[in-house]
């Protein structure tokens, strides 16, 4: 375990705390407001955020690895922090393909943790991610790339709410003459799903999905869904429940939440 002498709590942002830990060659997990960055010997080995689908979702949704194969690798390799190795050793995935996917997921999650940055909340020295070592990236590269992505997205449409809130179509607009990828993204916008859920459904990298969604927002076709209506004032209890009409939106959200576990 690395001895950490840095008072990482002294820094205003997760990115600054991360840079200080990197300079010490620290190993462990730094939690920010929107996710966790895993360091090994001062380099970033993994990042996870609830706002970006993880490697497992990307690999299984795209059909690159069958769900059984993924969970088998997690079961057998998880406790030894060797899930990535298991996938490659079992012949389910080429090492290069795993690295490419892993880097994609790492930078996608890092955007959320570092681009809209608050104070780091917690550092667990020595903590390692169950995925295990795949590839590592210097902290300054991850921080710089996250900032660059934020600038690129803001240039398309400067509304960060698109990245995290449920999205809805703007009523009265069509989807005629949209490029294929943007049209495909628009079909997933249903007033309930967030960008992360849309990316997961399309088995598409989150950043790519954010680019398409911000473009759709710039075109006036998509906006963040209005917050849920306030609870109804107390009144007579509702009449008999009609079971014929299930709340599909709620069920879908529940399914997505369970799948995201």
């Amino acid at each position: 375990m690395t001895r950490v002498t840095t008072t990482w709590t002294a820094y205003e942002t997760t990115a600054e705390a991360l840079a200080a830990l990197a300079a010490e060659g620290a190993t462990g997990a730094l939690s920010g407001e929107r996710g966790i960055v895993y360091l090994k010997a001062g380099r970033v080995v993994h990042v996870e955020s609830a706002f970006a689908p993880d490697l497992g979702a990307l690999l299984t949704r795209s059909g690159a690895v069958p769900p059984d194969g993924w969970w088998e690798a997690v079961d057998r390799g998880g406790t030894q922090h060797r899930v990535g190795h298991r996938l490659v050793d079992s012949g389910r995935l080429a090492a290069g393909a795993l690295e490419v996917c892993h880097l994609g997921a790492l930078f996608d999650a890092a955007y959320f943790v570092l681009a809209h940055d608050g104070r780091a909340q917690r550092f667990r020295p020595g903590a390692a991610h169950w995925l295990g070592a795949v590839r590592s990236v210097p902290v300054d590269v991850v921080v710089r790339e996250s900032g660059r992505r934020r600038a690129l997205l803001d240039r398309i449409w400067p509304d960060p709410a698109i990245d995290t809130l449920p999205l809805t179509r703007v009523p009265g607009t069509g989807s005629a003459a949209l490029p294929v990828r943007r049209g495909r993204t628009l079909t997933q916008v249903d007033g309930v799903r967030t960008a992360a859920q849309i990316a997961s459904a399309l088995a598409c990298r989150t950043y790519h999905t954010l680019v398409e969604l911000r473009r759709l927002a710039a075109d006036g076709l998509v906006r963040a869904a209005p917050p849920a209506a306030p609870p109804l004032p107390p009144g007579p209890p509702p009449r008999a429940v009609v079971w014929d009409d299930p709340d599909t939106a709620l069920l879908r959200r529940l399914r997505d939440a369970l799948e995201a576990l």
Binding site: G96, V100, R135, R149
Partner: protein
């Protein structure tokens, strides 16, 4: 099985005349891996700039309503060839291999063939 590093090394060692290679994400312009180049050829800059080439061509194809896909793009300079090969991958992972070749030593047909093979090792 080849990892990213060995795939890039293989590009430089097995493709005649190759001097630099990068694997680039063309949505963000970030290079996921680079090899070769040097102080007189900044691969990061080349990677970021060539994403504009790829994006522009993709946009043109969308405007034209072409449903086809780009396999590769070849740029011929006086002394160099720049080859851009888009990775297929399920779900369109948005990556390309960028290869710089010395025009005097390179065999274009062989280079394309080799690059296609190496690409297979990186696809999901």
């Amino acid at each position: 099985m080849a990892n990213l590093e060995t795939s890039l090394k293989e590009c430089l060692s097995s493709i005649d005349g190759s001097t630099a290679v990068a694997l680039v994400d063309y949505t963000s312009g970030m290079a996921l891996g680079t090899l070769g180049g040097g102080k007189d050829f900044n691969l990061e800059v080349a990677a970021a700039g060539n994403t504009d080439v790829v994006r522009s061509k993709l946009r043109t194809m969308e405007h034209l309503g072409l449903k086809d896909e780009i396999e590769d793009i070849l740029i011929t300079l006086n002394t160099q060839y720049h080859m851009i090969r888009l990775l297929k991958g399920r779900g369109g992972n948005g990556l390309f291999l960028y290869l710089v070749l010395d025009a005097n030593r390179a065999n274009l047909a062989m280079a394309r063939h080799q690059l296609r093979r190496i690409e297979g090792e990186l696809e999901v």
